[in-house]
């Protein structure tokens, strides 16, 4: 079982992150975050074809969870402890978001 995720795929949306069905999952997540219903329908179909209906539903549930958690964080001003800053800076560089990170 592959337990690693290529962070560049998270940052760029390109590739499959080295995971089975990674490109279909990224396309599905991007379509959920977007507002093009045709694109969402196609991404859903592609994921079901590559995997199963149950797989697509669980992927949608994870995406829904992070539509929730991102708003919990942004809506309450969630911050990390200062001691976590160093590790987050390194991760931020990999994701191309280091300039947006707050201590």
């Amino acid at each position: 079982m592959n337990l690693t995720v290529d962070l560049q795929t998270i940052a760029s949306g390109q590739g499959d992150a080295g995971l089975p069905h990674g490109s279909e999952l990224v396309a599905f997540a991007e379509a959920i975050a977007g507002y093009d219903e045709h694109r969402l329908t196609q991404a859903r179909r592609d994921l079901v074809c590559a995997t199963s209906h149950a797989f697509m539903i669980d992927a949608a549930a994870v995406a829904a969870n992070f539509e929730m958690m991102t708003r919990v964080a942004d809506g309450t001003g969630a911050k990390f402890e200062t001691k976590a800053h160093e590790a987050r800076t390194a991760l931020g560089h990999q994701l191309g978001i280091s300039e947006r990170l707050q201590v």
Binding site: A54, A60, T76, A78
Partner: protein
């Protein structure tokens, strides 16, 4: 009434149950708001999330501050600042409850849209005034804008974010357990329900969070 009858039979029972419970949670009185106001907040949030022609982040959809917060959190969450929040004529308890209501409806709507089932309807508001139910003791948080259940800052910011309001906190973590995984399951890097691997779950979570520009 809540999740449409054409919902696919492959939706897990606990996921369907958590989403139904979340919608009913909205339609019951909360600590500071009655059920009718909570349903209004959820309706504004749902519409803001779904519209293809959104207002600009700085525009207010209503003269009522609770609806303005609902709209911006649902559609432009990454633009919210502490200064903007502080300038609103709302208490910390009200703001925390608005976040709780918005995050009770957004994942249910997002999931329904994502899987292609009929969008959920909110139940009719239950009667009764605000419950006044808060955590027995709250404390100032360094890691969040609003007070949290005491002792503050002993847990990660997102874990304590809604803890001042036990009913909102309970609903949040019931949703998270059904949609993603429980805190116990989170400790297992091999956790799977037999569909996505943990790594595949994190890929979806990471890409979605990046697109929403949530840098927590």
């Amino acid at each position: 009434m809540v999740i449409s009858s054409d919902a696919d039979s492959t939706i897990r029972h606990e996921l369907r149950a958590a989403h139904n419970a979340s919608l009913h949670h909205i339609a019951n009185p909360g600590p500071s708001y009655d059920a009718a106001t909570r349903v209004e907040i959820a309706q504004v949030a749902s519409a803001a999330y779904l519209t293809t022609n959104p207002l600009a982040p700085w525009a207010s959809p209503s003269s009522r501050p609770e609806l303005t917060v609902a709209y911006r959190l649902a559609r432009h969450a990454n633009t919210i600042t502490q200064g903007w929040v502080n300038a609103l004529e709302l208490t910390s308890a009200q703001l925390t409850e608005i976040v709780g209501v918005v995050i009770s409806v957004i994942p249910v709507v997002a999931f329904a849209r994502a899987v292609g089932i009929t969008l959920p309807e909110l139940p009719r508001p239950a009667p009764g005034g605000p419950t006044g139910e808060f955590a027995p003791e709250v404390g100032h948080a360094r890691l969040n804008w609003f007070p949290v259940a005491a002792p503050a800052d002993q847990r990660a910011a997102v874990l304590q974010a809604l803890s001042a309001l036990p009913s909102e906190d309970t609903n949040l973590w019931r949703l998270a357990a059904a949609q993603y995984m429980s805190d116990v399951q989170m400790a297992d890097p091999l956790f799977t329900r037999g569909t996505l691997s943990r790594a595949q779950m994190e890929l979806v979570a990471g890409r979605l969070s990046k697109l929403r520009e949530c840098f927590y």
